[in-house]
Symmetry: C2
Subunit: 121 residues, 2 copies
DNA sequence: CAGCATCCCGGGCGATACTG
DNA sequence: CAGTATCGCCCGGGATGCTG
């Protein structure tokens, strides 16, 4: 049985209040690009260029800023190999993998239901 | 065992491409206010005023537009009682409840880990 | 190859006022 | 009570160009 939203708020008072840290984390991981970058990395380590190609439509600026934010949050690990030309690899941290275990079922649901939802609108 | 992101994309070609419907649905349900309104409604039927008070910080404009979007998507049911003064109730549709079954574990994770993530940043 | 700096536009969103 | 209407600001984010 999954927890209810009321139970979450009961066990953690003031959670989801306007100035609570949850709002910041939600903004990061549920952001337009954050979701897609995290999902992509859930398949394993990716290089910068691979992410740029896989996350369809993302600009370099947003890829850089999204990766930095997620790395600061401790969800993404950045590994820069001291080669020429540069070679940088991104992967999920254990915390990030833990998160994606909860997020992927949601992504699967969206993939399954999106078209049906929109054709009626 | 949860599905991998690669498996999702394999079983549904072109899903999560830039012009795919999934991007629209993601924008709706993972939006700043959409997440919170849906979570609130997952606890049961709420009146307009109750939502306004419970979703801390939301403006009337954004509450109205968020509710309309989610209703158009078939996730939220709007019931207007013909009384004076007006009395309108919002609740999740079966589709909405199905979605929240996948989203609430994620919300619980965020509530549990948010503070720890931010104090290091 | 993997970024950062700069410029700039559109619209998301908040504030305020008004209505059935 | 449950909205709609209007105004205006801010900033997300795209485009372009430069660097180690």
């Amino acid at each position: 049985m999954t927890v209810s939203f009321a139970q979450i708020k009961e066990s953690t008072p003031f959670v989801f209040d306007q100035n609570c840290g949850t709002r910041v984390v939600l903004d990061h991981i549920m952001s337009k690009w954050g979701v897609l970058v995290l999902s992509c990395l859930s398949d394993g380590t990716h290089r910068w260029g691979a992410l740029r190609r896989e996350v369809d439509g993302i600009s370099e600026k947003m890829l850089a800023s999204t990766l930095r934010t997620l790395a600061d949050d401790g969800l993404v690990h950045r590994e820069s190999l001291p080669t020429v030309p540069p070679h940088v690899e991104y992967s999920l941290t254990p915390l990030g993998r833990d998160l994606m275990e909860r997020m992927l079922p949601l992504m699967e649901w969206v993939a399954d239901h999106a078209d049906g939802m929109l054709e009626r609108g």
